[in-house]
Amino acid sequence: MLITCPYCGPRDVSEYTYQGDGNRTRPDPASTDQEVWNAYVYDRLNPAGEHHEIWQHSGGCRAHLAVTRNTLTHVVSSVSFARDAGHKKSDSRRKTGAKA
C-alpha cells in the first residue's frame, strides 16, 4: 500500500502510522455531555469501502494526513494535510451519541 504524502511523494505504508478514524470532531472542550464525549473517545466508523482516516507520516515529514482509503481494496483516492482538511468532515458520520 502506498500513500502519497503531499510533501514527500509516494511512500510505502511502513513509513506511516495509522491515527484513526478521520470523521471525528472533538466536542466543545467545555461540554459536559458524556454521550458526546463517549462517542468521540470510543466510537469509530468501520465501513467496508471508502473511509476517511488520519495517517501520520511518522517515518518522514511527520505531518498528519487526511486520507480517503477503500478498506476493501486499499486504494487511496485522496490525500491532504489534516490541518487543512480539518473542517471538511464526512457526511457519513453518525449523529454524536447515537448507538452504533
Binding site: 491515527q19 488520519i54 501520520q56 505531518a63 481494496t73 486499499h74 489534516a82 490541518r83
Partner: protein, 998 residues
C-alpha cells in the same frame, strides 16, 4: 545405465553424473534432474508414507503441485522438511530422507492405521477427542492426553531443532511489466513488452525457463520447442530492459500491483556461492502484470488411485521429454480427455510399452483413435479403471465398462497387467494469483474448469491460464498480453513464431470420480477420500468452506492444487447442484510454501538500535553496569569490586542523602514547544496551568489521555515568552510527541505552535544531595546559584569549565538538587567538570537503582505506576487537576468508574519479615500458599530503603487509601515469596519536602 532412463532424449546433461543419497542409499543422476526424475530413473517408485494412514506413496506430478513425494533435505544437523522431490534439483552431496515412516519407508508400523481407517475418517479428531464430560480426562484434557500419540503417528515431516545457518535477503524491485510464467505465452509476452520499451521482469518457478516448451515435444519456428525457448531466453537475457528470475515463485498479489516472490538462489548447490543468499525475497511493484501461469492437470478419483506407479499423464510427458525418464515399462493410461494421447505417443517413442488406453468416453475423436492404434495395446473406450492392483507398487489395473454420462459401471471387472498407470482428469488453469487480485472465478462448462476472474488490479492473462491450451494460442495471446501490459498497440501479429503441433480437443468428459468399492483419494497429501467428503455432507457440512475445514481437504502444504476441483465436483454431486453453484474457495497467498527465513531476511536476532547518552563512555570507564531502558542503555550501578547490586545502590543512595551524587538524566524526553500559542497549548494538554508560569521557572506537569487516564508526567521549563522546554519520562518521549503533534495537526490546527524533539540535543546531569549547591558554586561561572538567584524551580544560565549550561533547580530524589543541561557535545566535559568540582565533597556517580530507591522513598510515580490504567486520583495527584480550565481528559476523568472508592490506588508497602520484596508480587488479605487467590493489587516497585532501614515498595492496591495502617501479605507464588507487610502512605521519607527546599 539406470533401469528407467531412456536411451536418448531429455534436456539433462548425460555427461555429468551427480551423486546423492536417499534414505542413506547412494544414487546417481544427471545435471538437470530433479530428485523425482533421478529416483524414477533409478527405478524407485516408493517416495513417502501418507499423512494419516501411512499408505505407500509415489510421485504424482512433475512440479510444484506434488502432493505425495515430500522429502526432508538434511544438511549437517539442519533439516528442511516437506520439500517436493519434483522441485528439488539434485547436486553432488545432496542428502535426502523420506518422511512419515517408522522405522523405514518399506516397513512402516504406522500403516496399521489403515486397519483402523473406519474410525480415522473425516472429523475423527473433532469427534473423538472431545473427551468425556466428567472425570479426570474431561473435555480438552483428554485431547492433551492423546495428543502425544497422535502427533507421533500423523503429520508431515518434522523440522529440526538446529538454528538455520543460511543467509537470506530481501529485494525491492520496480518494473513496468512483470510476467509470471515463462512458457511460450510468458516468453512472447516478455518479448513484446520489451520490444515496446517497457522495463520487464520475467519470473519462472522452475530452474529452466520455457515451461511446456521444455517437454511438449512440439516444434516452434522450425526448432524443437525447448531449443526455441532457450534461444528466446538468450535473446531476452541480453536485453537491458529485461530481468529474468528463474527458480522464482511469485506467491502473493497485493494491492497497488505489489507482488511477492521468493527466489531459491542456492538450493540447487551444495553450498551457496560467495555472497549468495540461500533464498531471496522479492517485493515487486509493477505497472502491470502478465499472468502466464499455465494450468494444472487433475487426477481422476478411483479406488487405489494413490498406489505408487499412478502418475498424472502430463507429468509422465514431462519425465520422458525433459528428463529422458520412463515412469514404467508396461504403461496403462486412463483419461477423460485427449491430452493424455500425446503422452502415449511420446512414451512409445521413448521405448515404453503401452498396454492399455482406457478412456471414459465412448465417442472418442478420430485423431485419438488413430494415436491409440499407433501406440498399440488395448484400446478401451467407454471404460474406467475401477481398482489398481499390487502392494507398494502398481502391478496391474482392473477395468470395467462405464457410462460417462451417468457414471454407471457395468459388466465384470477385468485385470490388465501394468507397472504404471497414467491418469488425466482434465486441466485447471492456474488462477491462484488472479484470484488474489480479482473477483470470483468463472466456471467453463466445456473445459469443466474455473477460468480467471475479472481483474480488480492491473493484470492481463495469456495461454493455458486463460483456458487456451494450444501453443499457437498461447503465443498469440502472450504477444497481445505483452503489448497490452506495456501500453503499446502496434505489434504485428504476422511476426509471431509458427507452431507445428498436433491439434487436440482440450474439453474433457465431465467425469471426476469412478464409484467403485475401495478407498479413492481426493486429497492425497491430507489423506481425504471421496467417502470422507460424502460423510461430511451427511453430517451436515453443506458449505464448501465448512467442508474444507472439516475434512481438511486442500489444506495441506500443496493447498489442494490437484484436489480442489475433484473435491468440489464430488461435493456438488452430493448436494445435487451444478459445480458453479457450489462455488470455489478463494485462493489466498502464498501460492506455495515460503521459507520464513526469506520473509525475515536480515531482520533476525537482536536488531534493536542502541541509544547511548553523550556520557556513555565515561560510565563504561568508571565501572557502570547497564540496564536496557527501552532502546537506551542507562547505568544501573557503579559497583565497586566485591559489591552486590544491593550493596552498591545502598552505598550510592547514602552518599547522595548524606553528601552529593551525580546521575545521567540525558534520556528524559525533551520537546521544544515554541510559538505565540505555546502557553495556551500547554494549558490544554496539561492538567495544570502553564500560561501563568514565569519566564525562567519550571513546573511539574501531568498529562491525561482523552479518556481521563494518566498519560505522562514531567517538568516543563519556560525559557521565554513563546519558548518552553517540555520534559517527558524516558519511556514515553515518542508517545507524548505523537500525541502533541496529532492535537496540533488534527484538533487545533489554528494554534501557532511548533514542536521539535530535542532529546538528543541536550545532555542532562542531575546533581543531588545537601552538598550539591556547594559543588555548583565551586564550578559554575556567570551566575550565582544561591537560594535567591536560584530558588526551587528556578532556572539560570552560566558556564561550567567554559561550556554553556542551563541549570534548573528541581528534585526527583527529594534532596536539594539541580539538573544541569548542556549541549550534547559538551555533555562529558560538563559531567567530568562536575565530578572534579565534587571531589572535595566526596561526590559519587549514581545509577538507576539508587535513583529508583530515592523515588520510592519519596513516593514519586514512574511508568510502573503510570501504566495506562491509573487516574490522577489513584496516584494522589488530584491536586494537579485544575478546575479553572478544560484540558485533555477533563471531560472523561470524572466518570463513575474512574472515581470509585475501590479502585487500585497507590500505597506504600513495608516488609514486616525483613526480607526483600519483588515487583509484581500480589497483595492479599489472607495468605493461602497452596491455592493463591484474592489479589488486592500488586507491587509496582521495591527496594531496600537505607533511610528507613527496611525493605519497602510501592503498590497499587484496591481501595488502598483507606487501607493505610493495616496489615496484609504479599503472595508471589512464582518466586515462592510469601510474607506479612504493612500498608502505609507512599510518602516514606521527608513528606514535608523540607530537604529539597532547603
Amino acid at each position: 545405465m539406470s533401469p528407467r532412463r531412456a536411451i536418448s532424449g531429455g534436456r539433462i546433461d548425460r555427461l555429468r553424473t551427480i551423486r546423492f543419497t536417499f534414505d542413506g542409499r547412494p544414487f546417481t543422476g544427471h545435471a538437470g534432474d530433479t530428485l523425482a526424475s533421478a529416483l524414477l530413473a533409478n527405478g524407485v517408485t516408493l517416495f513417502a508414507r501418507s499423512f494419516k494412514y501411512h499408505r505407500p506413496r509415489g510421485v504424482l506430478t512433475a512440479g510444484i503441485d506434488e502432493p505425495n513425494a515430500l522429502v526432508t533435505v538434511l544438511s549437517g544437523a539442519v533439516r528442511e522438511p516437506n520439500i517436493p522431490a519434483t522441485m528439488l534439483e539434485i547436486y553432488d552431496g545432496l542428502n535426502v530422507a523420506s518422511q512419515n515412516r517408522f522405522p523405514s519407508l518399506a516397513y512402516d508400523v504406522g500403516a496399521l492405521n489403515q486397519l483402523g481407517s473406519k474410525v480415522l475418517g473425516a472429523g475423527f479428531y473433532y469427534k473423538t477427542f472431545m473427551g468425556p464430560v466428567i472425570g479426570p480426562l474431561k473435555g480438552t484434557r483428554f485431547w492433551m492426553f492423546c495428543e502425544w500419540f497422535i502427533r507421533r503417528a500423523a503429520g508431515l515431516g518434522s523440522a529440526g531443532l538446529e538454528k538455520d545457518p543460511s543467509r537470506y535477503e530481501r529485494m525491492n524491485a520496480f518494473c513496468d511489466v512483470l510476467v509470471v510464467g515463462s512458457g511460450p505465452a510468458g516468453l512472447i509476452a516478455a518479448k513484446a513488452a520489451s520490444d515496446s520499451g517497457a522495463r520487464v521482469m520475467l519470473a519462472e518457478l522452475d530452474a529452466t525457463p520455457g515451461g511446456s516448451a521444455n517437454w511438449s515435444g512440439e516444434t516452434i519456428d522450425g526448432l524443437p520447442a525447448a531449443e526455441w525457448a532457450a534461444e528466446t531466453l538468450r535473446d531476452l537475457k541480453a536485453r537491458e530492459n529485461v530481468r529474468v528470475l528463474p527458480r522464482t515463485t511469485v506467491w502473493g498479489y497485493y494491492d497497488g500491483n505489489t507482488l511477492s516472490a521468493v527466489e531459491r538462489v542456492a538450493d540447487h548447490r551444495n553450498t551457496p556461492a560467495k555472497g549468495e543468499p540461500r533464498h531471496r525475497h522479492w517485493t515487486i511493484r509493477t505497472q502491470s502484470v502478465v499472468l502466464a501461469t499455465g494450468a494444472f492437470e487433475r487426477p481422476l478419483v478411483f479406488p487405489g488411485n494413490d498406489r505408487p506407479g499412478v502418475m498424472l499423464a502430463g507429468a509422465a510427458l514431462r519425465y520422458v521429454n525433459q528428463y529422458g525418464v520412463l515412469p514404467g515399462q508396461k504403461i496403462a493410461i486412463f483419461t477423460n480427455n485427449d491430452s493424455a494421447y500425446h503422452t502415449a505417443e511420446a512414451l512409445k517413442k521413448a521405448g515404453a510399452e503401452i498396454v492399455a488406453m482406457v478412456d471414459v468416453r465412448d465417442d472418442t475423436s478420430v485423431a485419438g483413435r488413430e494415436i491409440a492404434r499407433e501406440v498399440g495395446g488395448e484400446y478401451l473406450a467407454g471404460h474406467a479403471v475401477v481398482a489398481t492392483e499390487g502392494g507398494a507398487q502398481v502391478s496391474g489395473i482392473k477395468v470395467q465398462r462405464i457410462n460417462a454420462a451417468t457414471g454407471a459401471l457395468s459388466g465384470d471387472p477385468r485385470s490388465i497387467h501394468a507397472d504404471c498407470l497414467l491418469v488425466s482428469g482434465g486441466w485447471s488453469p492456474t488462477i491462484h494469483l488472479a484470484s488474489q487480485a480479482g473477483l470470483k472465478p468463472e466456471w467453463d462448462n466445456d473445459l469443466q474448469a474455473f477460468l480467471p476472474p475479472k481483474p480488480t488490479q492491473n493484470w492481463v492473462g495469456a495461454g493455458a491460464f486463460n483456458g487456451s491450451f494450444s501453443t499457437e494460442k498461447a503465443i498469440s495471446e502472450g504477444h497481445a498480453a505483452g503489448l497490452t501490459a506495456a501500453g503499446a498497440t502496434d505489434g504485428k501479429a504476422d511476426e509471431l513464431p509458427s507452431v507445428d503441433a498436433d491439434a487436440f480437443d482440450p474439453n474433457p468428459a465431465p467425469v471426476f470420480e469412478i464409484k467403485a468399492k475401495g478407498k479413492a483419494f481426493v486429497d492425497l497429501q491430507h489423506d481425504v477420500t471421496a467417502d470422507d467428503v460424502r460423510l461430511a455432507h451427511r453430517e451436515g457440512f453443506v458449505s464448501v468452506e465448512h467442508l474444507k475445514r472439516y475434512t481438511t481437504l486442500g489444506m495441506a502444504t500443496d493447498q489442494g492444487k490437484t484436489s480442489n476441483i475433484p473435491g468440489l465436483a464430488i461435493m456438488a454431486e452430493t448436494l445435487g447442484k451444478p459445480i458453479p453453484d457450489v462455488g470455489t474457495t478463494r485462493f489466498r497467498a502464498p501460492f506455495a510454501p515460503v521459507s520464513v527465513g526469506s520473509l525475515a531476511g536480515e531482520r533476525y536476532g537482536d536488531i534493536r538500535p542502541e541509544r547511548l547518552t553523550p556520557m556513555y563512555d565515561w560510565h563504561v570507564e568508571n565501572g557502570a553496569e547497564f540496564y536496557a531502558a527501552g532502546l537506551w542503555h542507562r547505568p544501573m550501578i557503579y559497583g565497586l569490586s566485591g559489591e552486590s547490586v544491593e550493596q552498591a545502590y545502598v552505598r550510592e543512595t547514602k552518599a547522595v542523602r548524606g553528601g552529593v551524587g551525580l546521575v545521567d538524566v540525558s534520556t528524559l524526553g525533551k520537546i521544544a514547544v515554541q510559538g505565540p500559542d505555546a502557553g495556551a497549548f500547554l494549558d490544554r494538554v496539561y492538567t495544570n496551568m502553564f500560561s501563568t508560569l514565569a519566564i525562567g521557572k519550571a513546573r511539574y506537569g501531568l498529562m491525561l489521555r482523552e479518556d481521563g487516564f494518566v498519560l505522562d508526567d514531567g517538568t516543563t521549563w519556560r525559557l521565554g515568552e513563546h519558548d518552553f522546554l517540555m520534559t517527558t519520562t524516558t519511556a514515553n518521549a515518542g508517545k507524548v510527541m505523537q500525541h502533541l503533534e496529532y492535537l496540533l495537526d488534527v484538533v487545533w490546527p489554528e494554534l501557532k505552535v511548533q514542536l521539535t524533539s530535542v532529546t538528543d540535543q541536550w545532555a542532562g546531569a542531575a546533581i543531588s544531595g545537601p552538598k550539591s549547591r556547594d559543588v555548583l558554586a565551586a564550578c559554575v561561572t556567570g551566575t550565582k546559584v544561591d537560594n535567591d538567584a536560584l530558588p526551587f524551580m528556578g532556572i539560570v544560565y552560566g558556564e561550567i569549565d567554559g561550556a554553556p549550561v542551563m541549570i534548573c533547580r528541581l528534585s526527583f530524589s527529594g534532596e536539594l538538587a539541580y539538573e544541569v543541561y548542556s549541549g550534547a557535545g559538551h555533555g562529558t566535559h560538563v559531567w567530568q567538570a562536575l565530578i572534579k568540582a565534587g571531589e572535595p565533597f566526596a561526590i559519587v556517580p549514581y545509577g538507576l537503582e539508587a535513583l529508583g530507591t530515592m523515588r520510592i522513598e519519596k513516593g514519586h510515580v514512574t511508568g510502573a505506576e503510570i501504566d495506562g490504567r491509573t487516574t490522577a486520583r489513584d496516584l494522589h495527584l488530584d491536586w494537579m487537576l485544575s478546575k479553572k480550565k478544560p484540558f485533555i481528559g477533563s471531560a472523561m476523568m470524572d466518570r463513575e468508574g474512574l472515581v470509585a472508592e475501590d479502585r487500585l490506588q497507590l500505597v506504600g508497602i513495608v516488609s514486616l519479615d525483613n526480607r526483600p520484596l519483588n515487583g509484581g508480587a500480589h497483595i492479599v488479605e489472607e495468605l493461602d500458599e497452596a491455592n493463591p487467590h484474592g489479589s488486592l493489587g500488586h507491587l509496582t516497585a521495591a527496594c531496600y530503603s537505607p533511610s528507613l532501614g527496611k525493605y519497602i515498595g510501592l503498590a497499587l492496591v484496591k481501595g488502598g487509601k483507606a487501607r493505610q495502617g493495616t496489615r496484609a501479605f504479599i503472595s508471589d507464588p512464582l518466586r515462592k515469596r510469601f510474607g506479612p507487610v504493612e500498608i502505609v502512605s507512599h510518602h516514606f521519607f521527608d513528606p514535608e519536602g523540607s530537604r529539597m527546599h532547603g
